[in-house]
């Protein structure tokens, strides 16, 4: 590990992309396996490293791999670089600067489960990442012939398109919308074959674990959540950028590194499907699921968004909820109707024109919507809503009774992207 704690980004010099030749000075190629035959030693190494997925859910990677292997058919590997979180760019930066680390990880995952096919999925507007991966595949085709076929796909720019059943449905020719489960991807995925879907950062860690060994991986991070994580730090900070830090790093350390000249009202940890940290918790919270889950949150995609001291948390949370209501796939009644009702009511509260019962409705709907979609999208939206009501409780009360705070006039902080039409 380098002195500043970087691992995945250690080889990156002056924000330049690492070529295959440079990459191979640091990491040797892992020999390929045979299609249909799993390599349990690789899965064991990932298991003893204790690697958890970095796409948001934090599920143990080795367990996913073993589930895929249990099936008889030859598996498929899907590399998830869709990164639909509006405030996360860590996967984009990783693919742009370290494409070979990601592709090494994908190749190792394919060998581990006995797959002969890899699908790299990147949101189609993310042209820089797509070009970097395609160039990397050209470099590899010239120097390192492989029997594993790799396809690169530009996916629809919708948040839920990156959910694993949505991604598989789209790869199979359908809309990029989540499907009912079971079957789960490890049972029946791309082309009906068992499918391993892993986030790009997860796979980059896989490559380093296999090269350096599981005990090296555990030298940093925490016992339950070893290793480093990529963090997209933005909002009211002096140096917004992608940082790499050991899991368990105190939130305050990251804020100090990024610089917070306008003060800190609250921090949104884990992206739009994460949760707000405010008040005393800003001093005590650490960037790990162990620290954040008891507070109702999680590390999620590792995005850390800072609201400045002068800023209205009610307005910022309402804008995000409005975006969530637009990003629903429109399939499940409680999600479609619930998010719309909640966003509309929050708008009324933010503007000081709410009915007296508005806050009670939000509490009631948060309970009614949670856990009632085919995917976890509405659950994430309700987690965000609950944390907003908790972090900005007095502000919500004031707005709901018509006393709109002066900070509503301050510049907005959280970016709200346009919602693109179309699901193919």
């Amino acid at each position: 590990m380098t002195h500043d704690g970087r691992r995945l980004l250690a080889q990156v010099v002056n924000k330049n992309r690492t070529s295959l030749a440079d990459h191979r000075c640091h990491i040797a190629r892992v020999s390929e396996g045979r299609a249909g035959r799993a390599d349990s030693r690789l899965i064991d190494a990932i298991d003893s490293a204790g690697l958890r997925g970095r796409g948001g859910a934090g599920f143990p990677t080795a367990i996913k791999m073993r589930a895929v292997v249990e099936n008889r058919k030859t598996p498929v590997v899907v590399v998830n670089g869709t990164e639909g979180e509006p405030v996360s760019v860590k996967d984009a930066v990783l693919m742009r600067l370290q494409p070979h680390l990601v592709l090494d990880g994908a190749a190792i995952a394919a060998t581990a489960v006995g797959a002969n096919e890899i699908h790299v999925c990147i949101e189609r507007n993310n042209v820089a990442a797509i070009k970097s991966i395609e160039l990397a595949l050209l470099e590899r085709a010239q120097c390192e012939p492989s029997s594993v076929v790799v396809h690169v796909h530009g996916t629809p720019p919708r948040y839920v398109a990156g959910e694993e059943t949505a991604l598989i449905h789209w790869l199979n020719g359908g809309d990029a919308k989540p499907t009912a489960t079971p079957p789960r991807p490890f049972e029946r995925g791309v082309g009906g074959r068992p499918t391993l879907v892993d986030n790009v950062e997860t796979l980059a860690h896989v490559a380093q674990i296999v090269h350096n060994g599981p005990s090296w991986f555990r030298e940093t991070g925490t016992q339950d959540e070893p290793g480093t994580a990529l963090l997209t730090v933005g909002g009211a900070v002096a140096h917004g950028a992608v940082y790499e830090a050991p899991i368990g790093t105190p939130l305050a350390h990251i804020l100090a590194r990024a610089g917070t000249p306008s003060g800190v009202r609250a921090v949104l940890v884990g992206g739009y499907f994460g949760s707000w940290i405010a008040g005393d918790q800003l001093k005590t919270a650490a960037l790990s699921n162990a620290s954040l889950r008891p507070r109702g949150g999680g590390l999620g995609c590792g995005a850390v968004m800072v609201l400045p001291e002068r800023c209205c948390g009610v307005v910022e949370s309402t804008r995000v909820m409005r975006w969530m209501a637009m990003e629903t796939a429109g399939q499940c009644g409680p999600c479609v109707n619930g998010l719309e009702s909640i966003a509309a009511t929050m708008s009324h509260i933010a503007m000081g024109s709410a009915q007296p019962e508005a806050l009670q409705w939000l509490d009631r709907w948060a309970l009614q919507v949670d856990g009632r979609g085919a995917c976890k999208f509405p659950d994430g939206a309700m987690r965000f809503l609950r944390s907003a009501l908790l972090a900005f409780g007095p502000d919500f009360l004031a707005h709901a009774s018509g006393r709109v705070c002066a900070d509503v006039e301050m510049p907005k902080v959280l970016p709200i992207p346009n919602v693109a039409p179309g699901w193919r």
Binding site: P178, A180, C332, G333, P334, S341, G373, A374
Partner: protein, 67 residues
């Protein structure tokens, strides 16, 4: 093996028949979609549950065996 009712929320469009037929386990949310009580269905209610599942116009309900 304990049976319980499961809904495929993508298939459900909110016809609301289920809540009328099986109020013991199914209520409606504020938009008319079923909220399922996933606790085990006792033997005396089982035929009742099966009739409800068959009555769903979109076939969005099924019986799941809870271990």
């Amino acid at each position: 093996m304990k049976p319980r009712i499961v809904v495929d929320m993508i298939s459900c469009v909110g016809h609301r028949l289920c809540a009328d037929l099986f109020p013991e386990r199914i209520t409606l949310d504020d938009w008319g979609y079923p909220i399922i009580d996933a606790s085990a269905i006792p033997p005396e209610l089982l035929s009742h549950a099966k009739r409800t599942i068959e009555a769903c116009p979109t076939l969005a309900l099924r019986l799941d065996k809870l271990r």
